[in-house]
Amino acid sequence: MKSMFLFALSCTVATPLWAKPVVGAPAPAFSVVDSHGRTHTLADYKGRTVVLEWSNPDCPFVRKHYGAGNLQKQQADAAAQGVVWLTINSGAPGKQGHFDAAGANAWIARVGGKANAYLLDPDGRMGHAYDAKTTPHLYVIDGHGVLRYMGGIDSIQSADADDVAKATQYVPLALAELAAGKPVSVPTSEPYGCSVKYGAP
């Protein structure tokens, strides 16, 4: 019986369909066009820390953090430290929050977004590569291309803007620790929010 069980286990410890991102390992490569038609790849930013933020303008959790000015502030603070911030919309055409380039640019102007670029990923390729599940869902990649943080935006899982000030904001924490040459104290947290509105596979 023991050997049967071991056999069963060894059969199921298989390589997943696609490699999922792992903190401490190289982050998945990507090549995605932004709302101004420019292509961004991870390799473009070698030597710089990169933040990835999955977004859907109509998701109440995204609205919570933009409505409170939390994401704009984090983006501006990151820019001041030379960190690259990329916002990604993996919503499929016809799904809630899907943007074309003009829609994305109008939204950025309206909310005062301070990200370096807004990447349009309607086929969900980049989203699936990162296994992005929620909006928001945040990732921090160091200058060597290694994933250092993935997870939720902060420590209080709620839709209430009142909670923003009480919560620990994980990306600024990770950026400060990376800048100080320290290990990231919270390398993962469970993401929370709306599901990413992927198209049919």
Partner: protein, 286 residues
């Protein structure tokens, strides 16, 4: 005595409050509200020193769902924050067996349709018969179809304190009966969870294991332990083997794994609760 009790029949004193969701991001008063919430009590009065069953009744619009204590890949569990007279205490939500919702390749766990979330209310021994107890709860939920609308309602209910055992409230008897049938039953199974790194295997044995069926499912109460995709479930001799990928957000092994095994074989969904020790590394010896 803060709420002097005069004389009407007990059931007239039970005031039910029906509240509607207030979507956090919609200013429009006519905005669609996917969940209605109501605070109900199983009996028409409370008894000093007794325990009474309350319930938050959530009614979901078709195709909308709210979430279990572990919501899965996205979503938020429904939360209750009570405001009770001094000496009264409310227990945790007694979560009914949940259902799986797979949306756009992501895996969620929760409820649709009508669901009652029961809570046990402890009444202090010095509650004064003849007085009224004002009970209030702020309920927060996230309702999703594919898109999501957060909701919040403060519900209140005033119940009289009676000298003798009160009768059940006929208006909510069916809802409480259904909720009771949907409670995961304590199981006498023994078992263990083994963390093989990429996957976690739970082996259950003992009397009364459900027969193998495609309608079996299993949900882990703790978050950040197993992935949320449906686990593989199979019989291995007398044992039931449940295997799931380890969560990519796994950070710490729990001491025990709390599992709810469910089946939709039969007229209504049923489930069992089992707590098994969690061990990293080696497979179990049989």
């Amino acid at each position: 005595m803060r709420f002097p009790y005069t004389f009407p029949p007990l059931f007239h004193r039970a005031v039910f409050a029906l509240a509607y969701a207030s979507p956090a991001c919609a200013a429009d008063e006519t905005a669609f509200e996917p969940v209605r919430a109501e605070l109900v009590a199983e009996h028409v009065a409370l008894v000093p020193g007794g325990t009474s069953s309350l319930g938050v009744h959530l009614r979901h619009a078709p195709h909308w769902h709210s979430y279990w204590i572990n919501p899965g890949d996205s979503g938020l569990p429904t939360t209750l924050a009570w405001s009770l007279p001094a000496g009264y205490t409310a227990g945790e939500v007694e979560w009914p067996v949940p259902k799986r919702f797979d949306v756009g390749g992501l895996h969620n766990i929760g409820y649709e349709g009508d669901v009652l979330l029961p809570v046990a209310l402890k009444v202090p021994a010095d509650a004064v018969a003849g007085s009224n107890a004002p009970l209030a709860v702020t309920v927060k939920w996230l309702a999703c179809r594919e898109e999501c609308i957060p909701g919040k309602a403060t519900l209140s209910l005033e119940l009289p304190v009676a000298r003798e055992m009160p009768r059940p409230d006929a208006r909510v008897a069916a809802a409480f009966t259904t909720a009771r049938l949907a409670q995961p039953q304590a199981s006498a199974w023994s078992g263990s969870a083994h963390d093989g790194g990429a996957r976690i295997a739970v082996r259950l044995a003992g009397a009364g294991l459900p027969s193998m069926s495609a309608r079996l499912d299993a949900f882990v109460v703790q978050r950040k332990v197993v992935g949320n995709a449906p686990p593989s479930i199979r019989r291995d001799g007398d044992a039931l083997l449940i295997e799931a990928a380890r969560s990519e957000y796994f950070t710490r092994a729990p001491v025990d794994l709390d599992l709810v095994v469910t089946t939709t074989d039969g007229p209504a969904p049923r489930g069992w609760h089992v707590r098994v020790p969690y061990a990293a590394g080696t497979a179990p010896a049989n």
